[in-house]
Amino acid sequence: MGSFDLNTLTIRKALYLLEKGEVSSVELTQACLERIRKVDEKVKAFLYVNEEWALEQARLADEKRKEGLGGKLLGIPLAIKDNILIKGHPTTCASKILHNYIAPYDATAILKLKEEGAVFLGKTNLDEFAMGSSTENSAFFPTKNPWDLEKVPGGSSGGSAVAVACRMGLGALGSDTGGSIRQPACFCGVVGMKPTYSMVSRFGLVAFASSLDQIGPFALNVEDTALLLEVISRHDPYDSTSAPKQFPALSQVLKENEGKKFRIGIPKEYFEHKLDSEVSKNFDEIVMLLKKLGHEVKEVSLPRTKYALAVYYIVAPAEAASNLARYDGVKYGLRVEGKSLAEMYKKSRAEGFGREVKRRIMLGTYALSAGYYEAFYLKASRVRTLIKQDFLKAFEEVDLLLTPVSPTPPFKLGEKISDPLQMYLSDIFTIPVNLAGLPGLSLPSGFTSDNLPLGVQVIGPHFKDDHVLSLAYQIEKELNLEAIPPIIKAL
């Protein structure tokens, strides 16, 4: 068996070893599967692991490599959030209503990964239908933070963040509607990115809020994140909101931009909010670092920031209420028989959806219902325009923005689950980015005194994902953090 240290193995390094023939994809995949067997019963990141399938894909990748065939991710084992369809395998969205659903086709992002030779290990846990910030809303079980098993991993893509943090996969895909990639990446000490809206096709991503949802990557470092995003960002005629554009080879631009100086804005309104003292201290250190690196740092204003959360919790549930109307016990998933069709709908949905999903369907239905549409949905959509304009105006003065990812470090399991508004507040710095459709990246930036990960968020203008990645790459290089959770260090 080829020798490698799984705890420090990046995708880039693995590709190098594969190319030199020092390791095979089967060996890499076996190492990840063994890690899953050892660690996953403690952290519960996966809803579905299929060893036979994973090894079969790995064997195929090894054969291709022997035949001289390439692929940007040939033989690289990945984990996929369980709201993204992989043909022939379950997609549950961590919901009882889809407990037995087998995907009849591939999501476009999955097709792109397949074309480049990636190996899928399984599907990761999430808050039901991606609604939540802690992965506690999964209908099956909560996922735990590998840095402290009493703490949440963040959400909704908690399973994918934990899979990468524990090196159970070399990378992962998640989806981000209000922070669902960036906040768990931050809580678990890995890199996570929500690309510009429309860069990655949503075809085959189970819809939550269509004007906000975006698939994005998790990885151990910025370079791997860029590579994954490069592979999945393509125009797709199957998604009418997919950008009709060509994107740069993102993994190439990082080195080119290594010495590039940016004008970086710090939105002052983000600090009017109650911020944990360790989050704030760490943020200040990163600002100092940016100045040391020769970037110009200045305060900017996003005056409508305080309305973002209210706008989001009107718009997202309104879209969700519409999107989730399809779960009615007819075409797929759970059916509870009733005396009439209407009763069957009502009973199936009552039995199949969890509390948070029902709460949001109720909120969204209310916001769209006769008499409230103008006061809620339309009003929120107008304020959304102003929030977007704030960003566009700020980007006339600066190239990028830097903010905290979450106002607090990882919180305790159960701490916020009974107070929806408190839970919603944990996405206060990530939500505006989705409302405006901007790219945002969460980068590990240090640790609390209790050794819990902290992160900063880099935000860019539309389609400046390359600049977002480039600045994150510079900070990462300078910080040179080692983020290996104690639970796997001990192995």
Partner: protein, 97 residues
């Protein structure tokens, strides 16, 4: 502003969600709090502001309207709770004459 329990029940019917009395009570309290929070938006002047329904927009993409066979219809039917002869079975919706 809050919300009444009758209103919650009306909304649950629109959403085709059966709620227990206990759930209706809980949602009345929770939704009430959240709706109160939303009243924050009232202070924003949105006169002459166009709504944003999508963060980025292009012209609606057009394509030829051509038939593309899905391939394996059985895979779709396999997900249906009840199917028969290539069809999905649902409870009777018309009255027996």
């Amino acid at each position: 502003m809050g919300i009444s329990i009758e209103e919650v029940k009306r909304i649950s019917h629109l959403a085709r969600l059966e709620l227990t009395d206990e759930e209706a009570q809980t949602y009345t309290e929770e939704l009430g709090k959240i709706l109160d929070y939303f009243s924050l938006l009232k202070e924003v002047d949105t006169k002459d502001v166009q709504p944003t329904f999508h963060p980025l927009t292009w012209d609606t993409p057009m394509r030829e309207d051509e038939v593309r066979p899905f391939g394996d219809v059985r895979k779709i039917l396999a997900n249906a709770p009840v199917s028969w002869e290539g069809m999905i079975v649902v409870p009777r919706v018309v009255k027996v004459p």
